[in-house]
């Protein structure tokens, strides 16, 4: 995995994120885990569920609160596939590339989405609407190939059906993309 240093992770005195509701939720998670250093992954799960991704500010904040070296927090945040340092789109599409799905041509699903929306797996459309990603296995192998649009599982997916599903999700709501509180996108 390429390790690139985040610009704000260099400064000696990181800015504490502004206190708001989301911040209080992070503090709650820290408190619930009694500021145990072992709870780092649990806390990062909470941070990501609140903000949608891990911002450099929150990584700094978590490191400070748990009294961990920022390098360790950054190491954990970049080691696990589940954590993302990039803001996700308003809608997320996950295509499963587990073996069963691969054998049943999930590659065609990804290719169709790439062509249609012009993004590669791991990317978000410039308007911040759709993020495309690939899962290693969703555990719904009996319905291969599968994909997830905004949390809803599509079994036995076809390229046409999946694109229709994404378009339906786009038409249903157009929420604004998740951004960090300070407005700074990575």
């Amino acid at each position: 995995m390429a390790v690139s240093r985040e610009p704000s992770a260099r400064g000696a005195a990181p800015a504490k994120p502004p206190s708001d509701k989301r911040q209080r939720m992070v503090d709650g998670a820290l408190k619930k885990n009694q500021y145990h250093q072992d709870a780092l992954i649990e806390v990062l799960h909470t941070v990501q569920s609140i903000y949608g991704f891990l911002t450099p500010e929150t990584l700094w904040y978590v490191a400070q609160q748990l009294k961990l070296p920022p390098s360790k927090v950054y190491g954990v945040a970049t080691f696990y596939n589940f954590f993302t340092l990039k803001p996700p789109g308003a809608h997320t599409v996950v295509v499963c590339h587990g073996t069963a799905c691969y054998i049943r041509d999930s590659g065609a699903l990804t290719a169709a989405l790439q062509r249609k929306f012009g993004i590669l797996p791991g990317e978000t459309t410039p308007d911040g609407q759709i993020s495309l990603s690939i899962a290693r296995c969703l555990g719904s192998c009996s319905l291969a190939p599968t994909a997830i649009i905004d949390g809803a599982v599509y079994g036995r997916a076809t390229p046409e059906g999946l694109i229709a599903g994404v378009e339906a999700a786009l038409a249903a709501t157009s929420p604004t993309p998740v951004r960090s509180e300070s407005g700074g996108l990575l």
Partner: protein, 554 residues
């Protein structure tokens, strides 16, 4: 709560079930949810209300027939309906309702080999209990084994019983469970831990998800018994982050068990104390390896470390730690309840009991099946699994995920157990079976697995970190018709080095898919290298020498 009170809860629940004229159970597993079981359930609840009949509508665990979901089961008449739609709700609630063809649900024949040839031990509660209610589990002999262990058995007696049952680890390696337990029990320490490995990372395996989602209490009971046997008072369940429903159900189950006094400071009103906490994984295949999993529970990167010391001697925070797979732990209550000899009567001499397999890929009845060891692959794939769709020819079955291998048709009549699979160059693994037909290219399959191992390698040791990248590049060149026989020899050499020199199972077993496909499908490799042709027409040969490939693809 003590054992007598537990029995009273069981009795009350059984009476409530018996009082209802009919019970309608709707599969509430991820698989059926994805095919619309939620809407079916709503429709059945509405139909039951408006019919005025005395009907109990409940959710239930995965009965394995995921290929034809959503599944609905009615009791006491024991009818299983497949591919149920909301329109059929009224007919299911009251079969007397005159129905149009569209509203008539499909009944699964009771003699279908998919069901009749299975032996359900771990999945005995599938289609029987409601995973959301502890009472439902208790009514079906739940926590009976824990009660018996605490009242009648010494920790040594529990380990002896597990030894007599012949149970071996269901996570893949097949290590005798009792030996592991004995090691932890013998190690002196002020604090010990029990860890349930629910990091089911093998793509194509989903039996642990089904057990955690469908029967969470069985896992908790197995962990508590293990804790008593080895002298631990704290357990952790490490669940994949990709399984949110399993996490939710386990949390709920732990909460219910604590409220009933089945987990906590005085388990079933005895001096034994046992707590269970959940740790959620964050998407790293390597965390299925036990030392990497421990590193992850401790909040760090999931990096494996050399063994010894084994986790049984020095695990979580340096304390003796027992790590077992979900299915292993879920088997424990049944072994205690029914007796080790009863369990050992199933299976073969060296592989006792039953194993849950996940059927996926090019097979008609995808889903979960539990069969005794010793059954042949042919029976599982063609009889229980219903064979290959579209009348196409069977080519291979892949077992053991990225650490396993591909087994060709010549071994279809081989009895299925730990030893025989290892003999033919694969492993049992966690029980995933991906059926591959003639339309798939074996070189492409090998490349797929190497791509997987390459991106999942943790990077700690060179043979795995660099070896997977080099092996992938060679395979990619073969898939593009740009390789040479020399390079094939180099690939084989590289595989040997990786097997011998890698730090953990990920790197040591990563070459298995290549080795097994080279052993049984060498002609396909040579067709790519020498003739620049992909026999299955899958690979994008760079030089368009192969008219067959384009023809087959179109």
């Amino acid at each position: 709560m003590n054992v007598e009170e537990l029995q009273a809860v069981a009795l009350a629940e059984r009476l409530a079930c018996a009082a209802a004229r009919r019970r309608i159970l709707i599969c509430d597993d991820s698989g059926c949810r994805a095919t619309g079981s939620g809407a079916v359930r709503d429709a059945i609840v509405d139909a039951a209300k408006s019919s005025g009949h005395d009907v109990l509508v409940e959710g239930t665990s995965c009965c394995g027939f995921c290929a034809r979901g959503p599944i609905v089961i009615t009791r006491p008449d024991n009818v299983t309906f497949a591919e149920v739609t909301p329109e059929q709700a009224a007919t299911i609630v009251d079969p007397a309702t005159a129905a149009s063809e569209q509203a008539t649900p499909t009944v699964v024949p009771t003699n279908l080999p998919f069901f009749s040839r299975q032996t359900r031990i771990v999945m005995a509660n599938a289609g029987v209990t409601d995973p959301l209610r502890i009472e439902s589990y208790i009514a079906n002999h739940g926590y009976e084994a824990l009660g018996r262990v605490l009242q009648e058995m010494t920790p040594e007696a529990v380990i002896t019983a597990v030894a007599r049952s012949g149970l071996r680890g269901r996570g893949g390696a097949g290590f005798p469970t009792s030996v592991k337990w004995g090691l932890v029990a013998r190690t002196n320490a002020d604090q010990k831990y029990v860890v349930c490995n629910g990091d089911e990372g093998d793509p194509g395996a989903f039996m642990n998800r089904a057990v955690m989602e469908g029967d969470p209490h069985q896992v908790l009971e197995g962990m508590a018994i293990a804790g008593y046997a080895v002298g631990a008072n704290q357990g952790y369940i490490y669940v994949r982050g990709e399984y949110p429903i399993a996490v939710e159900r386990l949390r709920r189950a732990i909460h219910q068990a604590e409220r009933y006094g089945i987990l906590g400071t005085r388990v079933l009103d005895t001096a034994f104390q046992f707590r269970i906490d959940i740790r959620i994984g964050a998407g790293a295949f390597v965390c299925g390896e036990e030392t990497a999993l421990l590193a992850s529970i401790e909040g760090g990167r999931g990096l494996p470390r050399p063994r010894p010391p084994f986790p049984g001697q020095s695990g979580l925070w340096g304390r003796p730690t027992l790590i077992n797979n979900v299915e292993t732990l879920a088997t424990i209550p049944v072994i205690v309840r029914e007796g080790p000899d009863w369990y050992a009567a199933h299976g073969t001499e060296k592989s006792k009991g039953t194993k849950v397999f996940a059927l996926a890929g090019k097979i008609n009845y995808t889903g979960l099946v539990e069969v005794p060891f010793g059954i042949t692959l042919r029976d599982v794939i063609f009889d229980i699994g219903g064979g290959i769709p579209g009348g196409r020819a069977f080519k291979a079955v892949q077992t053991g995920g990225p650490s396993g291998g591909c087994i060709p048709a010549e071994f279809l009549d081989m009895p299925l157990d730990y030893e025989s699979l290892a003999q033919v160059g694969s492993i049992l693994g966690s029980g995933g079976m991906i059926v591959i037909d003639e339309t798939s290219c074996m070189v492409d399959v090998a490349r797929y697995y190497m791509d997987f191992c390459m991106s999942e390698s943790c990077g700690k040791c060179v043979p795995c970190r660099a070896g997977t990248v080099q092996a992938y590049r060679i395979l990619d060149r073969i898939c593009h018709g740009k390789s040479s026989p020399d390079e094939l020899a180099r690939l084989e050499e590289l595989c040997t080095y990786m097997q011998q020199a890698s730090l953990c199972g990920l790197g040591q077993n990563a070459p298995n898919p290549i080795m097994s496909t080279l052993k049984y499908f060498r002609d396909e490799y040579l067709a790519h290298i020498v003739d620049h042709v992909c026999p299955a027409g899958v690979c994008p040969m760079s030089s368009d020498i192969s008219p067959f490939a384009t023809e087959a693809r179109s």
